[in-house]
Amino acid sequence: MQLFNRRLFVLESGKFYTRGLLIKLARKQARILKTFTRSYIEDDFFSEKQINAVKQTIEMLKPDIEDFVIYNYPYQEMIFATAEMPKLSDEQLRNAVKFKISEDFHIPPNKLIIDITKADNYIKTDKGTSKVPIFATKQEFMDKMISFYRGVSGAPEPDMVIPDQLKYLEIFDEKTLKTDIPGQSKLTFLICQDMNYSVLFTFMANKLIDITEISISLEDVIEECQKRDINPQKVLSALLKGSEIGALEYTESIQQIFSEYYEKYTFEAEKAIRGTINHLNIDNPLTRIEVVIVASINGRLTLDLAYHIREEGILRGANVIQMPLKKDYPDDTEDLRTIMGLGYRGVRELGRYKFIQKEKAKA
């Protein structure tokens, strides 16, 4: 019975791990009740190991019928676009945007799911129109995913399904972004390294203007380990936990793999940033770069990535920092950053709550 408190059940599942999180909301505080993580290595989404992991998560966390349920949605299935639109009502705008994406990507409108950001994120143009950030996906994949979770794994129906990459924006302390000064707005790049994708968020002042893929991710490290007969499961577990890689066996080979990986990563990130700058048509873009922010699935990997990108001198020595987290982000959930992003989104949907530390919650 959830009359005087609410509970959230968050499920984050992908090719490499499935994670569950149970959050209790009461008296303006959000408290983590239970977490569960299962890692595995599979080539595809909807694999048998993933089914088992989701089943196990459901068994362990026992979500309730009244829980607010949040799922992540694979990054690879998402379409991000911006469309320049005249001033329209919200419903008209959604319809217009749907037809535009349908036309651009050759998907019938009835087989398309779209959602647009709130009006604060629209970028006003000189012509009086607005550039609207759009997130879209195919209905077919969504149906398949929901029936997979509900039918095969016995998971509850979700209240929210969030594009996976947006979890980073939820834990990001957006106050770091400078407010908009017309004509002098600065560019901020946010590089997010995930297990099977990397993404570049571009902000003009405090508005999100672009999302681009960086064609490298931690998946490449796993693949390289498999090639060199290094137990990929151990490496994966270390990566997820944010453990010291040097503590594993095969230290030398691993160090080499990571060293090559980070070198390549900086190159790919630079390519992505410069590509973005080119297609956004911004005047004197390099002089307008405020900072390059780096994030990853946990604090340890964020630290490593930021260090290497800084050392490699991305964008001719641009300022590189680790992603600042929200003020109330619990310190003891460093290894749960990814799912915490989804959790923050769900909590935000239900009201204004502040996360408290696990220890504080126990006390």
Partner: protein, 193 residues
């Protein structure tokens, strides 16, 4: 920052216990109001019962006939008692009037006697005062030849008439050498009192 939700189909689900608790919460003010009204009613009823302890708490259909006949007999009793009291009042009124008459009748006799006893002699022969009959007085009023009239007799009759007595008189005068004797019979109409 970016409020995206790709799945907006779910309808909120509630458990049966939650629904029941919600219904209970919704009904609570109504029940509380009823309870308050009932409490107030009971308190007031207890207060009224305390004041009127003889009152029956409940009158059933079967009781009505009995109570009606009881009320009727009570009413008859009250009417008869009222009549008795009325008659008694009338009787007392008459007694008072009669007492006043007898008192006046005797009192005036004494007053006039005191006034004229120095010059006139009074010999009372008969005096009859009986309830339901006329008062009767017979006396001899004697005075000397020097006086023309019998003042006692005159003043007595005047006084009686002033007091509202209706009189019939019968007098005989006997003339002696030195005195005049008046034999007088006074009848006051008091039979009706």
């Amino acid at each position: 920052m970016v409020d995206i939700n790709l799945y907006k189909k779910k309808k909120p689900k509630l458990k049966l216990t939650t629904v029941l608790v919600l219904i209970a919460i919704l009904l609570l003010p109504v029940l509380a109001l009823r309870l308050t009204i009932e409490t107030i009613k009971q308190t007031n009823l207890a207060e009224i019962k305390g004041k009127y302890q003889y009152a029956r708490t409940y009158i059933g259909d079967d009781d009505i006939e009995v109570i009606t006949s009881r009320i009727k007999s009570e009413n008859t009793k009250v009417v008869s008692q009222t009549n008795t009291i009325k008659a008694e009042i009338e009787r007392i009124k008459k007694d008072l009037v009669y007492a006043g008459l007898t008192s006046d009748f005797i009192n005036e006799l004494g007053i006039q006697f005191d006034r004229y006893k120095a010059n006139e002699k009074i010999f009372l022969e008969a005096m009859n005062i009986t309830r339901g009959k006329d008062f009767f007085l017979k006396y001899y009023n004697v005075n000397s030849k020097n006086f023309d009239n019998h003042q006692f007799s005159e003043e007595l009759k005047k006084a009686y008439e002033t007091n509202g007595l209706s009189l019939t008189t019968n007098q005989v005068t006997i003339d002696f050498m030195l005195v005049n004797i008046l034999q007088e019979e006074i009848t006051a109409k008091t039979a009706k009192y």
